[in-house]
Subunit: 242 residues, 2 copies
Amino acid sequence: MTYELYYWPGIQGRGEFVRLALEEAGIDYVNVARDKHGEESAEKKLLKFMGDPGLVHPPFAPPVLKAGELVIAQTANILMFLGEKHGLAPADEGGRLWTHQLQLTITDWVAEVHDAHHPLGPTEYYEDQKTEARKRTALFLEQRLPKYMGYFEKVLQQNSSGNRLLVGDILSYPDLSLFQVVEGLCYAFPRNLSRLEGNYPEIMALHDYVRRRPRVAAYLDSGRRMAFNEDGLFRHYPELDT
Amino acid sequence: MTYELYYWPGIQGRGEFVRLALEEAGIDYVNVARDKHGEESAEKKLLKFMGDPGLVHPPFAPPVLKAGELVIAQTANILMFLGEKHGLAPADEGGRLWTHQLQLTITDWVAEVHDAHHPLGPTEYYEDQKTEARKRTALFLEQRLPKYMGYFEKVLQQNSSGNRLLVGDILSYPDLSLFQVVEGLCYAFPRNLSRLEGNYPEIMALHDYVRRRPRVAAYLDSGRRMAFNEDGLFRHYPELDT
């Protein structure tokens, strides 16, 4: 079965967390955001799909994965589905819940990254909330970022399986998402990340390990991986990276 | 098996979404936030539990549910566990994913409610971000609240089972959470809610239905249900409810 991934064209955004899982698991999928007729055509397809009155389970927002008859939205929910179906999560109940718990904590973290440049919410432009963004980003970098980094560093240290992954001894979907968060933070806050990364050796080792996974490496080197930009979740505004 | 729910004392917060599911399902549980020795003792128990170095799956933040050997955190994750174990979710894969997708959309909504009074993030007091809170709340009430309300109204309308619930023909955990969101919004923004509620008859009917469920009603009338207050997620600041 070929899956279809619906997402906004032009940005990595939350869709990228799903793409990394699809790529790592070697799953055949149509990336609807990349259309040979260009971004306008891709967006038209997304909006047509999302607005289809025949959809039994209408999504609130993309990304949306179509897997045969299933239409699944919410990034962490899609990843749970892919993880359990395609070997990116343990099979036992406790392991599945723990894996999802870590993913939901990454979801919270990513929302705070977004809110750092959009403290007044998603409906106004960054340019119209720069003063507030400066305040929120300073608090984020000083207080929240170390809290999240410290938490995931501890989880990696505590994994008794002897490898350097988040859950047991298998690569799981939050490993891929944590890689993507580090990628994004290095893009958005290069000065702060180079200052902080020495404190989190396990996270940086995991990032390095995921980057070298053959399928992930092939994807990152392909033209299919979009670049980060200032329309996405992780934005590089030098005035915020102080 | 008696479950244990760990959460901050003194507020409903995210713990309340879990309590409503425990109450509706008639599950035997210890509410660790309510301690006969008072709030200080309850908080001490919470922090001791959260900081136990022997925890194999350490949580980032409460609520945390201890169910025998399982220690589960993240509200939506706990609800998924309870829902599937105790009849508050459908049994088929598509139904389970849809139920969880709705819950994760409620998670996003609740985070936006919180950020309306804390636009600079969770680490500063409301009093230190009142100007920003006024801006964000105005945008939330004008643009985001109708978007979430409209979405859930549509989902309720579209449910072809002929009842007025979110998922198929059973009461599921997002029904209980949607009830709690409406409760919280009516507390936080009474002027806006009385202006808006006529537009969302299905949501208000669901709210009413949940409130009358025998176990929920018994819980709401008991001394065990805490009152909303200005330390929780849903806060009534008259200056924001314009």
